[in-house]
């Protein structure tokens, strides 16, 4: 298996945590992982991007136009990360589906046949009274996306292994709510039907 997943957000949203969960999940299933992360400036309000590559490769960075998935915890960072997606790649983004994507970018998304899956993970987290649970909710939502390499069972287990035990119950709830958001939302995959493959 070879997957490239780019995670993007702003400092404090748990981009690194999500990276570690996915890496741990891949390792548990016997795959090699490599990747890269940004430090330091991340806590000072800057963008945080982390690259995760699953499979046998030594290169830590995902080249633009080759990522299978972009998981974005923030709408602006989602837009910024779009160039990393491959043709027919999937963007999973923490935003209310009504507010995304901007109509101006739709032609570009269609040309690249990008599937957009939006989930308002922030509201899920707010309802659970913990802003930082949004990333777990988004990971739950991700497992409902077509071609996502990990099952809900596997990811749940990885979260339980990585996260602090005192958050176990909260993470379980947030993860489940993320999965449920798939059924509730009108964030159906927007794949251009007329896109031609080279």
């Amino acid at each position: 298996m070879r997957y490239a997943i780019l995670l993007a957000g702003i400092g404090g949203q748990g981009v690194l945590f999500a990276h570690n969960v996915l890496a741990e999940c891949a390792l548990a299933q016997g795959f090699n992982v490599t990747g890269a992360e940004t430090h330091g400036m991340s806590q000072r309000g800057g963008s945080v991007v982390s690259h995760l590559k699953i499979g046998d490769t030594a290169a830590p960075l995902i080249r633009q136009g080759t990522a299978d998935f972009v998981i974005a915890f923030d709408a602006a960072e989602a837009y910024r990360a779009l160039p990393y997606l491959k043709r027919s790649g999937t963007l999973i983004v923490n935003v209310s589906p009504e507010n995304f994507p901007d109509a101006q970018i739709q032609p570009q998304l269609d040309a690249w046949a990008i599937a957009v899956r939006a989930c308002d993970a922030d509201t899920i987290a707010r309802n659970l009274d913990r802003a930082s649970a949004a990333n777990v909710a988004l990971l739950g939502f991700a497992t409902t996306c077509e071609n996502f390499p990990f099952t809900a069972v596997a990811l749940r287990a990885a979260i339980a292994r990585i996260a602090h035990p005192r958050f176990t119950a909260l993470n379980e709830k947030a993860f489940t709510e993320g999965i449920n958001a798939c059924q509730d939302s009108h964030s159906a995959a927007r794949r251009a039907s007329t896109a031609t493959l080279p």
Binding site: N32, T34, H39, G45, A58, G65, P83, I105
Partner: protein
Amino acid sequence: MKQKVVLGNEAIARGLVEAGVNVVTGYPGTPSSEIIPGVIALKKEYALDTYIEWSVNEKVALEVALAASWAGKRAAVTMKQVGLNVASDPLLSAAYTGVIGGFVLIVCDDPGPYSSQTEQDTRLFAIFAKAPVFDPATPRQAKEMTRAAFELSEKYRVPVIVRSSLRVSHARQNISLDALDSTPRAANFKKDTARWAATPRYRLLLHQELNEKLAKIKDEFETSPFNIKFTPTQTAGEPQKQKAKIRKHKFPFGIIGAGVPFATAQELLDELGVQIPMLQIGAVYPLPQNLVNDFIAQRQRVLILEEPDAALELQIDDRSKVHGRLDGTIPNAGELSPEVLEPILTRLLREARLLAEPRAANLPAWGAALQNLHLPMRGPRLCPGCGHRSAFYTIRRAFPGAFYASDIGCYTLGTNLRAVDTCLDMGAAITMASGMYQAYRLDGKHKAIVATIGDSTFIHSGVTGLANAVHTGARFVLVILDNSTTAMTGFQPTADHTRLADGTEGARVGIPDLVRACGVKFLRTADPYAMDEFQRVLKQAEQFTQAPDGGVAVIIAERPCVLNDRTPIDEHPIRVEVTDECDGCKYCLVAFECPSLVMNVAKNQVEINHQTCVDCGQCIDSCYKGFIVESKPMTILELAEKVGSGNGLVA
């Protein structure tokens, strides 16, 4: 074998501990800062008795570790690439004197650069210093090379450098967890004045000895497991004919590379389905000349891939068939990222007829489409509640138009408040202030000068500059921004406090004592949060710099880093709000620049982002119209409505 996904720096820490390192020193610097905490964690996990130290600067760190090596212990020192500039004096000398216990420098480069003043290449430094250097491409290689570095260092008695880089140190990869070396190494310094205290004529002998060592190491590197040939597998169909063809005509194109760019090329070629001969050089200096020349001889053209400079390429004798940085094929500035490498490599492959021309249909570029969205710029800024912001805000008000000499740390972000004019290297705030004073004094002119420096930076290399300033009669205001930690690199402790790297207690070397020891006659401590008082003290300081018997005036601005220690704020939270009278003039955004002050474009009013606001209340002063106010505490009635009647909650 047990595997674990770790950060590159954690892999290096693991390598140090598996090699049985006895002493590890360093100074924080991105991207090297996680190595020492990694060693500390392993020390605790395995109950080792390794000595680990955050030294006051890199030169000190190197010398401390080196002495342990001369006593027979295995020692290592960690730093970022510009830290090696600070530690260069002892390194160059130590290459001549040699070492006893393995002595390894882990130096982390920052191609880009992403958080440094230069994107210099430590491998070029290694050539200059005559110290062998390894160049890992992955965390796994970094661990293996760290272990091998100790063996090499002890065998030839030379310092050895492992040159990591951002994309190795801050990469993540699964590594194997191997057994720890527990060979006892007793401290036993053997006197040898001709070596350890060598005077110039002995230095000549040592230099000749060093050159002999390097020749032997070069021979060893010809067969190093870190210099790896990748030969294309036989093509299907007519393997014998193909082999003969390759023998008869040189394979048109090959790659010699080192570090992350080599790995990037490997993956790219894999993606393109092209196989070419490749040679990975992991032991870069002294370069295994025969290995490299043989490879080049068999090719028509060779591309050299490395970063951030041409350390490998420059060592190649005959470069007539070589393309790389020296002929401009590879850009000479910036990271050699996959996006930069791809067009270069595909062009060369096409020219060598190893890759078909691209298909016509190209997907539209993203650039223009994204520009139209006007995405918010998210450059680095001081955190909400940062004491430095309050200090800079007041400095600007007290001394508008002054020359603001500053330094390296979180407070460099004072550029966003236009209160930082210069940032050169560690400690330069004080020395540049002195020099600026002297320049204007030559013309008989007065120039208001305010230098700002952090607590950790001051101890690192500010003290010498301050002594010089007092001794030579320079006059300026120095504000030591003391947030009680080394913040930007991850809250490492400083010598101004008693806590040591591993959490045990040392002795305090107080900043006020250091300042007085430099002969400073005006020293005050002030809280930057108390803006009026802070401004008063700034004015007093300025008066002192202009008094007949005056000189340098020092103010220690004490306010703990808000990320590291929230207690002072949590004890006295001041919740604020922007009133509805706000007219959207944006003065607060420009003058105070707190990330929690956000513009509501639709309403044309500033609002508080309460998710990021830390309730420090400092922004209140920044609206001179009085539209930022402390939120009134709720009345009992309002509170009752909020919590709902009958559910028993008490406010």
